[in-house]
Amino acid sequence: MNSSMHKHAPRKRSATEPIESLLGAEDTGSPRSKRPAATVIGVIFVLGRACAGVLWLTAFTLLWPEIAREVELETEIRPAVYSIFLVGGLIGVLLLVVLGIAIWRGSNLARVLVMLGLTLSISVAAIGYFANGEEITIRTTLLTVALDIIVLLALSSRDARAWARSSSRRRAAPRPRR
């Protein structure tokens, strides 16, 4: 009943209206076309992770004969196991590069996907720390955990979110007219 009363009441302009409707579409300030620093930092670290992945794969390739001997893998299945690791690693690196570039170009979905991955990675570390008493120090995984959290902070910030959403919308808008 209340809502129907509101519908008939003369519209009065209040300051609690959402700011978009208060200012009108053309007056919302300049659309944030410039990439915010938080997004740039996020992308740099995502691509940095991809580089670290390449280094890891290189080291893995060089050390593979030794590792295979240590875990006493049978000679005939060694190439198969190696290629599984290599292909898996390369797919991971490729995924990071693609997502990083997509975030750079303003994809909101890519930003959310990366944040999902970071959340999982941080949660695993936190569960290990609180439930299993694993140590997180500079010598072990502190740097990885710190970078994950900083990238998550950067990508989830209001600046990064507003820019990704508006640029996703901008790219989606011209589609029907084509």
């Binding site: 302009r13 700011i19 200012l23 009108g24 120090t137 959290i149 998550l152 902070l153 990508l155 209001r158």
Partner: protein, 271 residues
């Protein structure tokens, strides 16, 4: 239909990540703090990293989450900082188009502040190190009506980069009225930076402002009126109650609550 739905799911996820990142950052700060006690001399840089994380990432994020809940988002005569904290008081209103405001302040010897960019930030560092003055140094962003100031003006105090007069301007939304019903074109917040210090709420390095914001308000008005004789002054007495409070950096502020309205519509035309 479908895209709209997906968008709101993303929005919910976004809020979750925003809060989760804040909690994770608190945990990281704790990890760094305990680590700084454990590593001997290496503890000093780790402790500095802890402060940086706390001041620039953790506390702002916590404030951002909490102020969204408890700070009113309608006009109460106060600006808000980028973390959502209550900032400098709104203590001046103006009538007139943007050109008139620019002309009046330039005539009175004020300099327009550069926007915050990589380039202007670099200039601040260089000018601080070389002790050269930077008259158009940018001011930090404050928010009113959900958006950053449209522009800002400032006056340097001779030979001291830590002290300056500055005033930020917001264009009011079309058809928007002040409490009490007066219509103005611009709202402004003028304060005097008196020193550099640490913010009480976020521990960041910031400017501390002079507590008596009425002095700065009256300084702005007298400087404009002396160089723009056609400017008309009207004062809304006791627009807000006199109060003291704290701004976004934790500096105390006090005011008598009067809101002067400078009418520049007649002074705008150049002779």
């Amino acid at each position: 239909m479908a895209p709209k739905r997906r968008f709101s799911l993303l929005a919910v996820l976004d809020e979750f990540f925003f809060v989760f990142a804040g909690i994770a950052a608190v945990w990281l700060a704790w990890l760094l703090l305990t680590e700084s006690f454990r590593t001997g001399w290496w503890g000093i840089p780790v402790f500095i990293a802890f402060w940086g994380l706390l001041a620039y990432l953790v506390l702002p994020r916590i404030h951002r989450v909490l102020t969204t809940i408890y700070v009113p988002d309608y006009f109460i005569g106060r600006t808000r900082t980028s973390d959502g904290l209550l900032g400098d008081p709104i203590n001046l209103a103006l009538q007139g188009d943007e050109d008139a405001v620019h002309r009046a302040f330039e005539n009175a010897g004020w300099r327009r502040a550069d926007p915050v960019t990589l380039r202007s930030s670099w200039r601040i560092i260089v000018s601080t190190l070389t002790r050269r003055s930077y008259d158009e140094a940018p001011v930090s962003p404050l928010y009113l009506f959900g958006r950053m100031q449209d522009f800002a003006y400032q006056q340097e105090v001779e030979g001291n980069p830590a002290k300056r007069h500055h005033v930020r301007f917001w264009r009011t939304p079309v058809g928007w009225l002040l409490p009490g019903g007066a219509r103005v074109d611009w709202l402004a917040a003028g304060t005097f930076d008196r020193a550099v210090g640490l913010s009480l709420f976020t521990l960041q390095v910031t400017h501390k402002i002079d507590a008596d914001t009425d002095i700065e308000r009256d300084h702005i008005i007298s400087s404009i009126r002396s160089s723009n004789p056609a400017a008309v002054l009207e004062v809304l007495r006791d627009f807000s109650t006199g109060y003291h409070s704290r701004n976004g950096g934790g500096d105390s502020i006090r005011t008598d609550g009067d809101l002067p309205i400078l009418d520049l519509t007649k002074s705008g035309r150049r002779a």
